[in-house]
């Protein structure tokens, strides 16, 4: 990875839910940490999210899901990334996700990192920076 290139992140709100506080706070924290952030806005289909991620050439997709549809949406996004040969784009997420589901999503590789309410934005920033450094090395 070119070290001069800024980390590019797509922050997305898939599904029908409109609670965008978390997504916006994280988007802003990532921008303040020097990343390029694209925010999709609301009510995106998984297809729209993946299309935007590819078009914007991002390193990472951050999904915010509070509607309980996480077990449908995360696998679907990964499936679409695979179909589009864009599996190098990492996926992280946050929202109302019970621990059992959280474990399953991580174990099956549908997300590389997940956060629940109370998470710290600096911890998210740190995770991304380390994940990108690992990827580059």
């Amino acid at each position: 990875m070119n070290t001069n290139r800024k980390i590019r992140v797509l922050v997305a709100k898939p599904g029908l839910d409109g609670h965008d506080r978390g997504a916006k706070v994280v988007a802003r924290a990532l921008r303040d940490a020097g990343m390029e952030v694209v925010y999709t806005g609301l009510h995106q289909t998984p297809e729209q999210v993946v299309e935007a991620a590819i078009q914007e050439d991002v390193d990472l997709i951050g999904l915010s899901v509070l509607s309980g549809a996480h077990m449908t949406i995360f696998p679907r996004i990964c499936e679409l990334l695979k179909e589009n040969n864009a599996e190098d784009i990492m996926v992280m997420g946050g929202g109302i996700i019970p621990e059992d589901d959280l474990k399953e999503l991580l174990e099956k590789g549908y997300a590389q990192a997940l956060w629940t309410p109370g998470a710290n934005t600096s911890e998210i920033v740190k995770w991304i920076q380390e994940a990108m450094a690992d990827k580059a090395s």
Binding site: H19, R28, A69
Partner: protein, 552 residues
């Protein structure tokens, strides 16, 4: 207070300040909304308070001390837990359980497809059916939802906005089937589209046709459903989106004024619909700030309605409100602590004079609540009502130098916001410019930063943390539910009289293009088992869809 007393107080304060200077345990003291708080409030802070003009007695203008003369000494608030999940059958059971446990009103939570106007078998509903609320597609579901619940004996609140007219018609039609005429129905539809554009973001149509649906509801309700609260003007979601208390107060009341103006512009007499407007506020963690917010809200509303909009009916001046404890204050860490948070928030709502209350369950930050957690949440209210004694006297905090000063300050700050909104040309114009959205995003970010810099401590999150794993029971929604509900709506389409149904949808399409009241045609369509998604689709084709410019 004479000049001599004033001077004594001033000198006393000076001496006190000298004794305490520089001896504080932290640099800044501030409310949850980042408003700085003085170490001490004295008579100097409420010097200009005029009891009869600014407070007066409960049930008397400007209603600062409460909208009813005897408040909870006459009757406790309505205990109304927001509930709904999976399908109508499961939710119907939960309602009966809550009623058996002493709940006094119903409050329906709909799932995202219902909120956004999609049937359960629509592609966009995939993975979302029955997840955050109950799936309602047609009259068939609504009849099941309220089966064996007499709609003339219970009041129901429905949290539905963009498609509120349709769900309201479904309720009216369900009551008809139970033999209950519409004039006997009591309850509330949230129906607050302005806060959707501002904060909650569950919109369908653009603002103008949305406002028309709302004024159609005002008009129809005044004639046929006179006991119904036609809008629950909601600050709750504005606060959950990250606003401060003052922003919640100001933006909510500004929305209320916008509905009043829309109703008057549609040719309705203000007193014909204003008595049926109600409010919905958040109860956040900062105890006194919240109480001051409710007190200021009543006073501002009464003053404006009387002085600016010329309301004559006393009922038009009363700000009646439901409260929900702050979902956003709950933590996934040490979730049992949420019971305690909720209890303090509920106490604030009660001391602030709420008419109805929902207390959150400890597990809502993880999933929908279990039966046990919702029972504890309901018991929280019952303990306040039965054991704490805070309901024995009305507005017990009145006259507190701090509470009165904070109430005044809230009113002044809200007035400044009204001026800024007026400068944009009104609420719709300010939405268009992203004003509210940016103010709220800024406040949410500031709050998060304060936590991350340890300027405020959230127990279990950045203070008093423990190593833990989740060991509380979680309500799971069986994925099979979605499949069943899809089949159910398809069966409705197969078994209804499709000729009648299509004719009524066509009648709706025609009426939508005129300025006729749409409620009677929607009511006819739902009676013929037209689905919610079909009705919304007709309106979407005529009205178009709203698109937001995303900002952060």
């Amino acid at each position: 207070m004479n000049a001599n007393d004033k001077e004594k107080i001033r000198l006393g304060k000076k001496a006190w300040e000298e004794r305490t200077a520089g001896k504080e345990r932290q640099k800044k003291f501030m409310t949850v909304s980042s408003v700085p708080i003085k170490p001490l409030y004295t008579p100097e802070d409420v010097e200009d308070l005029d009891y009869m003009k600014d407070l007066n007695y409960p049930g008397a203008y400007p209603y600062t001390r409460g909208v009813q003369p005897n408040m909870y000494r006459g009757r406790n608030w309505t205990m109304r837990q927001f509930a709904g999940f999976a399908t109508a059958t499961e939710s119907n059971e939960r309602y009966k359980y809550l009623l058996s446990q002493g709940q006094t009103g119903l409050s329906v939570a709909f799932d995202m497809p219902t909120i956004m106007g999609y049937d359960s078998d629509h592609a966009r509903s995939f993975g979302e059916v029955g997840r955050v609320g109950v799936a309602i597609d047609s009259l068939d579901d609504m009849e099941t939802l309220f089966s064996d619940i007499p709609l003339d004996k219970i009041t129901t609140s429905m949290t539905i906005n963009a498609p509120a007219s349709i769900l309201w018609c479904l309720y009216i039609a369900t009551a008809e089937k139970q033999g209950v005429p519409s004039h006997k129905l009591g309850g509330t539809i949230q129906n607050d589209i302005l806060k959707e554009y501002i904060a909650q973001k569950s919109w369908i149509f653009p603002p103008e046709p949305s406002m028309r649906l709302i004024t159609d509801i005002f008009d129809f309700a005044a004639q046929h459903v006179p006991k119904w609260n036609t809008v629950s003007i909601s600050g709750y979601h504005i606060r959950e989106a990250g606003s401060t208390a003052v922003q919640e107060l100001a933006f909510t009341l500004a929305d209320g004024f916008a509905y009043v103006e829309a109703g008057m512009k549609a040719g309705l007499d203000v007193d014909a619909f204003a008595p049926r407007l109600s409010f919905f506020f958040n109860a956040h963690m900062d105890f006194f700030e919240e109480i001051a917010k409710y007190r200021a809200a009543r006073r501002i509303w009464a003053r404006r309605m009387k002085e600016k909009y010329g309301a004559k009916d006393e009922k038009s001046l009363l700000l009646r409100f439901h409260t929900q404890t702050a979902g956003c204050s709950l933590t996934a860490q040490q979730p049992e602590n949420n019971i305690i948070r909720t209890a303090y928030e509920a106490l604030g709502a009660v001391l602030g004079g709420t008419q109805s209350l929902h207390t959150n369950s400890m597990d809502e930050v993880l999933s929908l609540p279990t039966e046990k957690s919702v029972r504890i949440a309901l018991r929280t209210q019952q303990i306040i009502a039965e054991e704490t004694g805070v309901t024995n006297t009305i507005d017990p905090l009145a006259g507190s130098y701090f509470v009165e000063a904070l109430t005044n300050q809230m009113e002044e700050e809200a007035e400044k916001y009204f001026e800024r909104i007026d400068n944009y040309g009104g609420v719709l114009e300010a939405i268009d410019e992203g004003f509210f959205q940016q103010e709220i995003a800024d406040a949410a970010y500031r709050y998060q930063q304060e936590i991350e810099k340890d300027e405020r401590i959230i127990v279990g999150v950045n203070g008093y943390t423990i190593e833990e794993s989740q060991d509380i029971e979680i309500l799971k929604i069986d994925p099979q539910i979605e499949e069943n509900q899809r089949k159910r709506v398809q069966r409705v389409r197969e078994t209804r009289d499709n000729i009648v149904c299509n004719n009524r949808l066509e009648a709706l399409r025609k009426a939508a293009g005129t300025s006729d009241n749409l409620i009677p045609v929607i009511l006819d369509a739902v009676r013929a088992y037209a689905t919610e998604g079909e009705i919304v689709q007709v309106l979407r084709e005529v009205f178009g869809e709203y698109k937001e410019k995303p900002i952060f």
